[in-house]
Symmetry: C2
Subunit: 427 residues, 2 copies
């Protein structure tokens, strides 16, 4: 790009970056997913990643669909689900198309409860939900029982508590968790404890009996309950950063276990996709590379929003989960600076002497440097019917970013531009 | 020392070190201080640090004595307290002489409640208590009200919960907190949250009404409730390590705001004292060096037990509290290795790629290297009647260690030893 054009893009990207940083995400409610918008189908299920059809779905996502269909009472086994899907009797829609994000398979059904997070700066709302075993593809009775406990008891109790509290500010909680060894994607130990200590006094005021004790027990013992809130907080921040003309800032990175897709602030709703990468996994005992599904989940929204891999330098204990030395984790976080707009002052990493997390992935910088964004993640089985089999890191496919940059040139270099110069700029 | 003697000491020190590492501290009860042993006086008060008389006491400790006397109903103002103390009507005794440890002024009275921690390996028991404003020397109505709330409501509720739970294992909780940015002396953010999430389900089963909601609110909102448990856990570990013949491992470091004292495993109950040092303080707004009292508190038991400054490398966010860069904190923790017996495998520092904390301060190594143990600490006012005025670090006076080494030679080099060699050994 020439310097004028470059300066215009810098300004646009700065605008996207500042909107991300200005977001004030609050957990405001727990509602049924159906409140997030109708679809052409009465029966619909959401899923993580870019749009995908039933026949191309990954094993974990298919398993999660079976679990959700069992939960809704639409079907009782995989064959019935297969028939319904083959006859288009259940619509499939990405969470991102309803302003939501789901961990792993990301499958939610209309009567499932979801957390609602609102950015009090922009007013934008997004949803997300707990990372159930079902979202790794498990659909056995135990997995369905977990769904029933949450949707029947825990989500309603948390909803009452949150409404009684008048909403719960997520940003200060997340900033504090970053000083406590979380990177707010794969490690949510501190944030989940802080969520528990923040919510429990309100649960005490709004629930009683079994509902109270079960909710307190689950919140107090949990280590990953904050994941959907971290994801939804990033999602609302990125919704605010969306739609900035000429901005090359990435506002979505998501995977469905088959495809990896990104969307860009200045390029509308278009997905730029490539095959989902293999996850560099530290496997749990009994599992190995032959069992592993490909990269999956909307949780890459955390890296898109400047957390996860961008904050690894502050989460040394995650090396137990993803392997590697502390110096490697630090290097990953520092490398994210090469491909982002700036450092978010709200999310200070104490281990980097208080520097903010690298935030606002810039398509241009990714293409120019060939540094692919790193993503912290868990690994699902390649077949339906399993639970988590490991954790590790993945790298976004560079081709998504070159496609997006091409589209940017097609969109913003109008007929008046010298075609020769246009060719040069891309080179 | 010659090599035979040196080898004997190494073995003794290894024994002390292993006993520290083998300890399994549990919070087992909450009782009144009087259960920890009678004193020659009906009326007695404990204090931090080595033995001291009323006339030589620091301002913070005098203020804490006034608060405790008010709490017990023995006196209502400083003049009355002064008269009682001047006439020896109230006995003063170091916490350490009753197998206890108190933060800051460390003043506890017979009817005050204390946490009881037991080492399930050695059976040893120790007590400690919450760091009240009174322990900084405040004795106004608000400070007394805090004492009444804790002793009347919160301690009893926690006691019921702990007994119902059958005791609470502190070691795994502390190990986890070390992966969450605590160094378990000045920073107790994670440990206090983990204490809350562990205890609250039991409080829910054993308290009701106002007692329940007040206890849950305080536990859920607290950031320093774990300090006394970290201290008592170290104290029981060091009680187990005590009394090993020939061991030069330090089993007590404590200060009363006037004197700093140490005790050594192989040297019985003898205190080796020197004037308490100035704390290198980051002052809270409105305070400066002219306001500062000298180093105070039994909380240096955490460094004695291999936490606090030994774990600073894993607590980067503490730089906000004590000043300095992350590299400085790391350097402090690494320097503690030069003066300790070994690394405690139970207390892994993720930021040091899982290396254990430097544990078991060796008098010989301190004297030989002239590296004084670093201590994380808070700073009290030099006059009675104030609250916390800052936080920082201090350094144990080297003269305590040279005295102790002299005493070791006096104790263990018998008449048969060549006096000339004895002289050489000390040089």
């Amino acid at each position: 790009m020439d310097s004028d054009l470059s300066s215009t893009v810098e300004q646009a990207n700065q605008e996207s970056f500042e909107r991300i940083c200005a977001a004030q995400p609050f957990l405001v409610d727990v509602v049924e997913l159906r409140e997030f918008g109708a679809t052409p189908h009465d029966r619909f299920l959401t899923h993580s990643g870019p749009p995908i059809t039933w026949d191309r779905m990954s094993g974990a996502q298919k398993g999660a669909i079976v679990a959700a269909a069992r939960f809704e009472g639409w079907a009782s086994d995989p064959d019935e689900v297969d028939k319904l899907l083959a006859h288009d009797a259940i619509g499939l829609i990405p969470n991102h198309h309803l302003n939501g994000v789901g961990p792993m398979a990301g499958v939610f059904s209309p009567s499932m409860k979801v957390f609602v997070v609102q950015d009090r700066t922009s007013g934008k709302r997004a949803y997300s939900g707990i990372e159930f075993d079902a979202l790794y593809g498990a659909y056995d009775d135990e997995a369905i029982e977990e769904l029933r406990l949450w949707h029947g008891v825990l989500y309603p109790a948390i909803g009452r508590a949150v409404r009684e509290a008048g909403g719960l500010a997520l940003k200060p909680l997340m900033a504090k968790a970053l000083t406590m060894g979380d990177e707010l994607h794969s490690r949510q130990t501190a944030s989940s404890a802080l969520l528990a200590t923040t919510l429990i006094p309100w649960v005490l005021r709004t629930s009683r009996g079994d509902d109270l004790s079960r909710t307190v027990d689950v919140l107090a013992g949990a280590e990953l309950t904050f994941l959907p809130l971290s994801m939804a907080a990033c999602k609302v921040s990125l919704l605010a950063a969306d739609g900035v003309s000429r901005s090359t800032v990435v506002t979505t990175m998501a995977r469905n276990g088959t495809d990896f897709g990104i969307r860009v602030s200045g390029l509308g709703d278009t997905w730029f996709t490539a095959p989902a990468p293999v996850v560099e996994t530290t496997f749990f005992q009994g599992f190995g590379p032959a069992d592993a599904g490909l990269d999956i989940g909307d949780s890459a929204i955390t890296e898109t929003g400047g957390l996860g891999a961008c904050a690894l330098a502050g989460a040394p204990a995650i090396s137990e989960l993803v392997g590697g030395k502390v110096a490697d984790l630090r290097a990953i976080s520092l490398r994210m600076r090469d491909i982002t707009v700036g450092l978010n002052p709200s999310y200070a990493i104490a281990a980097l002497d208080g520097a903010g997390t690298a935030t606002g992935i810039d398509v241009r910088k990714v293409v120019q440097s060939s540094v692919a964004p790193t993503i912290d993640t868990a690994t699902a089985h390649r077949e339906p019917g399993h639970r988590i089999i490991g954790a590790g890191i993945s790298h976004a496919p560079l081709v998504c970013f070159t496609q997006a940059l091409d589209a940017w040139f097609d969109t913003y270099l109008d007929a008046g531009d010298d075609p020769a110069r246009k060719g040069e700029s891309r080179a």
